[in-house]
Amino acid sequence: MTSDWNRDLGIKFTVQDPCQLVRKSLGDEIANDLRFVVKSVVGPENFVEMYPCKSNNYCCGGGGGALQAGFPEARRAYGLRKRDQILATGATYCIAPCHNCHSQIHDLADHFGHNWHTVHLWTLICLSLGMLGENERAYLGGDLKGLGLLLAT
C-alpha cells in the first residue's frame, strides 16, 4: 500500500473507533492496528485524531439498535458530540470501519449540513492499491472520484 497519491493532495482523514471493535472487544491494540493501516493508506501527515479516541472514544450514536429504534431526534442529538469531534479535526473525510458508525456518521453530515465524507476503510485500501473501480466510489467526494481510475476503454 502507498500513500503517494495523497502526498500533494494533502486530503485530511480522521477515523472513528468503533465501540464494538475497540472498547468492547480488542482494545487499544486493535485501535493502533487501525491507525497503522489508515496512516499507511492516507499518509501519516494526513491523519488527524479525534479526541478522546481509542478505548475512550465516544460512540457515534448509531449502535445498540439506535438506528432503527424509532427515536431519530434523540439519536441525532446523541450524535452531536461526534459531529463536534469530527469538525474539530478539520478533516474532510471520516473513515468508519463499522456499518452502524458509517450509517450514523453519514446521516449526521447529511442531516446537519456538513461537508465531510464518510467512507469505508476498504474503499481507501483499494484506492491506495490503485484498484478501486468506478462503481466502488459512491462515498468518495469529487476530489477522489477519478483518482487512479483505470478506464476499461
Binding site: 465501540c19 472498547r23 449502535g63 439498535g65 432503527q68 424509532g70 434523540a74 474503499t123 476499461a152
Partner: protein, 245 residues
C-alpha cells in the same frame, strides 16, 4: 417520571428486581454506598439528558429500587450500550448490562418496532439477514456483481468470490446492506482478500453479519441466530469466522 403511565408497561417484575440485579452487577466486594456520585459516567455519555435520564441517575434509581420508573423510560433504547460509562467508572459498575436488563423487561410488543421487526425478519430465513435476503438472493447478487467486474474491470477478469467452498481458512460474513442495497461495495473487500492471497469463502447460509435480536433484547432469538451462524461456519469447515461489522 410520570407515575400515571406506569400501566402502559405491564410487567411481572416485582419491585426489588432492579436493586437485586444492580447489586449482582457490582464488582466483587462492591456496594452502592461506595459510588462516589462522581458523574464521570454521565459527563462522558452523549445520551445524558435525553428523555431526562443519564447513567448516574439510572444507577442511583436502580439502587433505590425505583423499578417502575426504570421500566418506563424509553431512554434504554436511546442508550447505545457503548460501555463508555463503565470504562470510566472508578467502581467499574456494569451500567450497560443494567440498561440491557431493562430492555429485556419490556413486553416484546412494546419494544421499538424497527428493531423487533428486523429481529423477526432475520428469524424467517436461514441466512440471518435482517433484510430478509434468502440464500438464493445472496448467491444471485454475488454472482451478478462478480460477472460484471469480470466483464468491465481490466485486470480483474479472474477475481473470485467463492460461495460454500469447504475447508477454507476464512468464512467471511457480510452485512445485508451490501448485497441488498449497495452490492458494488462488496467488490473492494473481494479485491483486498484476493490481493493478499486469502483462502476464504462466503456461505449461502448464516452469512448475515447483523443481529438485531441482540438489540431487541430477545435473548432466545439472539442465541438462535448466533448458533445458526456458527453452524454455517462449522459445516463448511472454515477455521476463522471473519466479521466485517
Amino acid at each position: 417520571m410520570n407515575p400515571e403511565s406506569s400501566s402502559t408497561l405491564s410487567t411481572d417484575i416485582t419491585a426489588p428486581t432492579f436493586r437485586r440485579r444492580a447489586h449482582d452487577l457490582l464488582p466483587r466486594d462492591g456496594n452502592y454506598t461506595m459510588c462516589l456520585s462522581c458523574g464521570l459516567c454521565s459527563s462522558g455519555c452523549p445520551a445524558s439528558g435525553l428523555a431526562d435520564m443519564d447513567p448516574r441517575k439510572f444507577v442511583r434509581m436502580a439502587a433505590l429500587g425505583l423499578d417502575a420508573e426504570l421500566l418506563q423510560t424509553p431512554w434504554v433504547w436511546m442508550c447505545t450500550l457503548c460501555k463508555r460509562c463503565q470504562h470510566v467508572c472508578p467502581m467499574n459498575i456494569d451500567i450497560p448490562s443494567l440498561i440491557y436488563h431493562a430492555r429485556t423487561c419490556w413486553p416484546r410488543e412494546q419494544r421499538p418496532k424497527g428493531v423487533v421487526a428486523s429481529c423477526d425478519q432475520s428469524l424467517r430465513t436461514k441466512t440471518g439477514s435482517a433484510m430478509g435476503a434468502s440464500p438464493e438472493d445472496f448467491k444471485f447478487v454475488v454472482d451478478d456483481v462478480l460477472e460484471e467486474v469480470h466483464a468491465v474491470q481490466k485486470g480483474f477478469e479472474l477475481l473470485r468470490a467463492p460461495m460454500n467452498k469447504p475447508e477454507t481458512f476464512f468464512f467471511l460474513n457480510q452485512n445485508s446492506r451490501e448485497p441488498m442495497t449497495e452490492p458494488d461495495e462488496m467488490v473492494p473487500l473481494w479485491k483486498i482478500l484476493d490481493h493478499v492471497g486469502a483462502d476464504w469463502t462466503y456461505g449461502s447460509l448464516g452469512w448475515a453479519a447483523e443481529n438485531y435480536c441482540m438489540f431487541a433484547a430477545d435473548e432466545a432469538a439472539w442465541e438462535r441466530i448466533v448458533r445458526e451462524k456458527v453452524k454455517a461456519v462449522e459445516d463448511l469447515g472454515a477455521k476463522v469466522w471473519l466479521n466485517t461489522e
